[in-house]
């Protein structure tokens, strides 16, 4: 099967380890992936807030690129996925807007492009059985909660992925890796998203509650599929104990024993290595001694 990848801006910046681990996992599972060339930003939450037309036109350009590249479009970032699916829905169902956006972007919309989150591609196309067969280091003892956030699931008639109230896909994947996924009621609550800079107080409150509830559920870490959720979770937790937030792809890479995994952990704002080493999932390398205590 043919796939193309739209990484989006975050996977090259604040969600760096999501981009690295996604590519590593897809390569390990022998997916043939072409990254879209000359892709642009989907407009995130800002384009549609200030201009209805721009909020459709920016993702439409990405859809145009994917149409000519061919194959299913894999979108790891939850926010990009939501914007692309939303624009695709409007282009498909609203003729007047389709005509306007087509002339604005300069392309002809064709129905049938499949826009899919990375979670769906791994779960549906690769399958749990084959993933289980790939596990070299079972993540036994790692107690986590699966945190989806908003944009992978809502609005359900547009995203058409998993159960919007009781999503199952991520928990099933993580369970296949041997992790102990704790049940909790906050999997689809909002982290505060783009308010993080302008109203850090709101985001701190929302993230604080998520971390508290995750702790209550018995988890030692959260697992996300959204770069904005991840950075908010790690940047805006104020109370101890601070729970690290993994991308699900990082845990896949860890369980598959990919050597690159070690380079992902230092990129976290909340270091997950103490947790991983307490479970024997991370070997602490010998510290390099630049200065000897008796040097002076």
């Amino acid at each position: 099967m043919n796939y193309c990848l739209y990484p989006g801006c975050s996977l090259h910046s604040t969600g760096l380890e999501y981009g690295l681990s996604s590519r590593a996992v897809l390569k390990h599972l022998e997916f043939e992936i072409n990254e879209l060339e000359a892709w642009n930003c989907c407009g995130a939450s800002s384009a549609h807030a200030l201009s209805h037309t721009l909020g459709l036109a920016l993702p439409a350009r990405v859809i145009a690129l994917a149409q000519s590249a061919g194959g299913d479009l894999i979108v790891p970032c939850a926010a990009c996925f939501n914007r692309l699916k939303g624009a695709d829905h409007t282009l498909r169902t609203d003729q007047a807007q389709r005509i306007q956006i087509q002339s604005l972007v300069g392309f002809e919309y064709r129905e049938g492009l499949s826009i899919r989150p990375l979670l769906a591609v791994l779960y549906e196309d690769y399958g749990l059985q084959k993933i289980t067969a790939q596990v070299k280091i079972p993540l036994n003892g790692l107690r986590v909660v699966a945190y989806y956030g908003c944009l992978l699931l809502r609005p359900p008639e547009i995203t058409r992925f998993d159960d919007p109230d009781h999503p199952q896909v991520m928990a099933a994947l993580l369970t296949a890796l041997g992790a102990e996924v704790q049940p909790w009621s906050y999997a689809t609550e909002c982290c505060g998203a783009g308010l993080s800079l302008s109203r850090a107080d709101i985001v701190q409150k929302l993230v604080g509650r998520l971390a508290e509830r995750a702790c209550e559920a018995g988890a030692e870490a959260l697992v996300t599929a959204c770069p904005l959720c991840q950075v908010n979770l790690e940047m805006r937790q104020t109370c101890a104990p601070k729970l690290p937030a993994f991308y699900f792809t990082e845990l896949l890479g860890l369980a598959f024993d990919l050597p690159q995994a070690e380079s992902w952990w230092p990129k976290h704002l909340i270091d997950p290595r103490p947790l991983l080493s307490s479970l024997g999932l991370y070997r602490i390398p010998e510290p390099v001694q630049y200065f000897q205590p008796d040097m002076f």
């Binding site: 801006c9 975050s10 090259h12 910046s13 604040t14 969600g15 760096l16 060339e37 000359a38 892709w39 642009n40 930003c41 407009g43 995130a44 939450s45 800002s46 384009a47 549609h48 807030a49 200030l50 201009s51 209805h52 037309t53 721009l54 909020g55 036109a57 920016l58 350009r61 609203d94 604005l104 972007v105 908003c150 944009l151 699931l153 809502r154 609005p155 359900p156 919007p164 609550e189 909002c190 505060g192 998203a193 783009g194 308010l195 800079l197 302008s198 109203r199 850090a200 107080d201 709101i202 409150k205 929302l206 950075v231 940047m235 230092p266 990129k267 976290h268 704002l269």
Partner: protein, 173 residues
Amino acid sequence: MNNLLDQVKQISEQPIEQCYHCHKCTAGCPVVSAMRYGPDRLLRMLALEQEEPLLSSRDIWLCAGCYSCAARCPNDIDLAAVMDALRQIAMAQGYPAGEPDALLFHRLFLRVLSVFGRSHEAAMLGLFKVLSHVPLMNDVGAGIGLFLRGKVPIIPKRSGAAADVRQIMQRSK
């Protein structure tokens, strides 16, 4: 067409008058505690044409776009889309944003897009720090933390999309 309700309906394409005020949107809204009215009352104000308090409220800028309201509305009103329409009308009519930093964030984001075709966090964060009302030293530690981890690259990657994006933005005006 001067009626505010009609304008919002035209932009958002939502069946706003079907709202029977069950309060599900307000009950599930994650940012309602920071709002003045809450989503349900905003719809009522819209029906009553209370244009000034509605368009100058901070509420329309605080919506995080999480779609909890849209998913739960028994009448299938996508309130997040209504909020987008209200913001756009408020700006077009020259109302000062009730949450100026939220508007500043969106404007800077789009400005950066028009230059690079993609987001550029370092430029974005730097400009926001200088221009917003948020105290300058807030989040500096986290910013440095992100930078040291290679997560806010300074030198932008050439994408080949910038010219297209600029053109799209000019045509969208």
